[in-house]
Amino acid sequence: MNTYFAGEYDVAVIGAGHAGIEAALAAARLGCKTAVFTINMDAVGNCPCNPSIGGTAKGHLVREIDALGGEMGKTADKCFLQSRMLNRGKGPAVHSLRAQIDRRKYSDTMKHILELQSNLELRQAEITDIKRTENGYELTTRMLAVFSCKTVIIATGTYLGGRIFVGEVSYESGPDGIFPATALGKSLKDLGLPLRRFKTGTPARMLRSSIDFSELEVQKGDEPPCPFSYETDDLGENKVDCHISWTNEKTKQVILENIHRSPLYAGKIEGVGPRYCPSFEDKIMRFRDKPRHQLFIEPCGLDTEEMYLQGMSSSLPEEVQLKFYRTIKGLEHCVMMRPAYAIEYDCVDPLAMLPTLEFKELPGLFGAGQFNGSSGYEEAAAQGLIAGINAAFKVQGKKPFVLTRDTSYIGTLIDDLVTKGANEPYRMMTSRSEYRLVLRQDNADERLTPLGYEIGLISEERYKRFLEKQALKKAELKRLKATVISPTDELNNILVSRETSPVTTGVRLIELIRRPQLDYEALSAVDRDRPKLDRNIFEQVEIEVKYEGYIQKQTKQVEQMQRLEAKLLPSNFDYTQIAGLRLEAQEKLNRIKPLNIGQASRISGVSPADISVLLIWLAQNK
């Protein structure tokens, strides 16, 4: 068949999901001639699973993407339906923002942003072949167009070799009934990429009018709702409610009677699924004693009657699904609009990549998102952004951009992927970061916006706003230190009512704020000269004062690690030459080729004894 030459790009992105979007936007905004290929023009920025963005740790990622100049936070704000700050009572380190979003609107908004972006071409095409050339890669589409690309970012999500399972039924498909990418996988294998199968799943969507909400617990958004983006000033009001229901003994009974019809339990699915996001039948089988499980009923948008059942994904046959969904309070007469399904797909072993998300053996080829073994929109977007920046930098001959663990959840996510690998779809969690109190969602701008500005993704104007905010924050901290509050009855009444000890002498405002029982709100009556500031500034100052000691503690740990990160390892070295290393360590080090001792110490299978061997070896070879 006759192919035709269709053009040249600096950066080509395969896939226009959450990873592909950020990758393409970053590359184009950094001045590269960029193309992003989507298998279906109506599936750009699709949310095939939950109609929400953010959540624990994922909210951090969105904030960080925004602080670096990415798009996800801004678009989520534009499409928000309801917003909640999770973990409010559990401390600032684990506060996480989550927004219910209008999924169609989100997709349309993102598509439009891509369309309007200069240097960027959005094309509907299935990439069927990728070949290495002298100057990069050559992509061929189903329609036989050939593109010559300096760099390529693979962001194929669950489309690559996608296969859907619903009970005994199984067929090749991408998510939401869109056709899969069937040919590209072979071509990637020919390039030598280590591909493997993962699986994930999604619950059914129900018709709103078929659900009886009258007896269900309502879950409302925060008032006022909090935006993701530092550029969004006002979100307006929450637009929808979510509802909570519970499964029961009858639900469990249906599952137990039909478990043999699950493709997973019948051994038909070979892909590895996420432990932390199990299908409902998995939850029943693994926690048999649990009498009930919680589920959330979430609207998919303002212009649709589809309702998402969070926590209820399944790969049981459609008839069984309907049967068990209908045992649930409120869903007794539910009408199913889309059935739940499991989807299996090809992804790569991320150990084959550098922290820039470039493949070690294939310069100029990058991976991002679910293709790299992660799960979740936010994880995907974060990787897309980093891959996009690095692809652009590569084209422009600039130094790679790597975020370290102590700067961000993004850095932690990528370091985990390329250092520890992923044996199941990787989800971000706050517990994955050892520096939680430093890497808070409220200070993402402080940590990353200067970097975003340096890269060139943060505008002059926004950077100026950021600097102003920092100055105000600094001034407020100074004011807290300088202001002395007299020991009036008014103050002591406040102190006593908050169950903290009264004072007999004047006390600095900062000391009062430091007390766990007190906050800005409590002290507003006695703090008369308080300036009018953005609530985020007050919040951040309060956190920094209250948690000062702990933040210092983590900062010290950061410094300790930085010492190990500063000890660089050679990029091309055969570790079998170091006899003192155990065999497993030699093998792992050769495979992962860590950039420094710090990264080496996080490889599973490399023991502290191996690290000391490396330290001594480094010292001897200086």
């Binding site: 624990t56 600032p92 517990s431 702990y550 004894a609 061997v613």
Partner: protein
């Protein structure tokens, strides 16, 4: 990594029945081939691991000594490398000559601690085990050896691991609770953190509290024998040490300098100093001795204040009693073989521990030893329960304890759990550094700094 093969004398240097020269490294057996000849002509490099052969050690000048060769094959050896051990006749001359033969044949001299360092680097032992090796080598008493062995076999490690596991359970629960706010995971309550932390705290406190008595067992207690001239201090010292160290005469002022000796009193090592008698003196030389003794008194961990049963207490005795009342002290009433003239009740009013002895005929020695053991806190000490063996371990435990205490106080002052978690994770990381599960570049250097050649 230094791939060289190293050799050293592994037994104590000095006269002994037997001396062991250890060669470790890739070329250990190759080197042994060159310097060891067995009657059967079977080469060491042909021998299997865990086998022995009798033969002769030779160097350029010919046969050096008869020796038994033990062959260990990697990784089944102390260092995890190929090891040849030559047991020859003892004595500095012979062992050195065998070592020289090994060095001539291509081995490099082992750095202090090299064998243990290699064992550590090859993953044969962990950090606490490595440290205990040095303790084992230098162990002065039975108890000390037992304590060192316990660390090596992981008694401290077991305790630390238990604490670590407890803390990990708490932090795991805290993480799940923070990461899954909408799953119905049990709410974390203060009690769920408080209880395991309190338990962990108790274990660590116990480890710390036995550290000092552990040190008494291991390193010994600085002990000063004091008293006015001629009450029998030197005789007492000789009684404890079992040989004539101090010059014993009945001329007051004989002991002018501080005589030091390490003796074993039961399970306790005493680093004894016999001091010049405390008295006002015009003799310039003796005066220096007296001043030194006074200074020594202020620094000691145990004072044995000696009084003469047969003489009335004078001003000097009373001065000593006054000094002694502020110090950990045992009043030793000497010369019980002579009739009593001293006012014992005056002594017992000021010093609670009193022991009666006759240093010259040995009466009361056992009573004295058990009084010392009691005061050193070693009576109830069971070394096999695991004793922290050095300052590094003590510091790590003490830091971990500090972090746990901090977590508990954060909890009670109403701080949020994310702050509490920071302290708990800090504690866990300290404990992991102690057991060598976590690396920081300083630890390794700190540990291996102290090792002696040989082991």
């Amino acid at each position: 990594m230094n791939k060289s093969t190293v050799a050293a004398i592994s037994t104590a240097q000095g006269e002994g029945g037997i001396g062991v020269i250890r060669i470790s490294g890739d070329k250990a057996l190759e080197i042994a081939d060159k310097i060891f000849i067995s009657p059967s002509n079977k080469k060491p490099s042909q021998m299997k691991g865990y086998t022995a052969a009798f033969g002769r050690v030779v160097d350029d000048e010919g046969a050096v000594d008869e020796a038994v060769l033990l062959v260990f094959r990697a990784p089944h050896s102390y260092t995890g490398e190929d090891v040849a051990e030559l047991s020859c006749h003892g004595g500095i001359y012979l062992t050195k000559r065998v070592l020289r033969a090994a060095l001539q044949a291509g081995a490099s001299p082992a750095e202090p601690g090299e064998f243990t360092k290699r064992a550590f680097l090859n993953g044969k032992i962990d950090l606490t085990e490595a440290e205990s090796v040095i303790d084992l080598i230098t162990a002065k008493s039975k108890s000390a050896a037992r304590a060192a062995l316990c660390v090596k076999e992981g008694a401290v490690r077991k305790k630390i691991n238990l604490v670590k596991e407890n803390l990990l359970t708490v932090t795991a629960h805290l993480s799940a609770w923070a990461d899954y706010p909408e799953e119905d995971i049990a709410e974390v309550t203060d009690d769920m953190i408080f209880e395991p932390c309190s338990k962990a705290k108790a274990v660590l406190e116990n480890l710390l509290s036995t550290y000092d008595s552990g040190q008494a067992v291991k390193r010994g207690i600085d002990t000063v024998i004091a008293g006015k001239p001629n009450v029998g201090k030197s005789t007492l010292m000789n009684l404890l040490s079992g040989c004539e160290k101090s010059i014993v005469t009945d001329i007051p002022g004989t002991t002018r300098d501080i005589v030091e000796e390490t003796v074993l009193a039961g399970d306790v090592i005493l680093r004894l100093s016999d001091t010049a008698g405390l008295r006002d003196t015009q003799d310039a030389v003796e005066k220096i001795g007296v001043d030194k003794a006074k200074k020594r008194l202020e620094q000691c961990s145990l004072l044995l204040a000696v009084f003469d049963n047969s003489r009335e207490l004078d001003e000097e005795d009373k001065k000593l009693i006054k000094t002694a009342s502020d110090l950990p002290c045992i009043a030793v009433i000497n010369k019980t073989d002579l009739p009593n003239s001293a006012d014992i009740s005056y002594i017992s009013d000021n010093i609670s521990n009193i022991v009666y002895i006759s240093a010259s005929n040995g009466d009361g020695r056992n009573e004295l030893i058990s009084a010392i053991e009691k005061l050193a806190g070693t009576t109830g000490l069971n070394p096999s329960e695991g004793i922290l063996s050095n300052e590094r371990q003590r510091l790590a435990v003490s830091n971990a304890l500090g972090s746990i205490t901090e977590a508990l106080s954060a909890l009670s002052s109403g701080m949020t759990y994310d702050a509490v978690t920071v302290s708990l994770e800090d504690a866990i990381s300290e404990l992991m550094e102690l057991t060598g599960e976590k690396t920081s570049d300083e630890v390794i250097d700190r540990v291996f700094h102290n090792f002696c050649v040989g082991k």
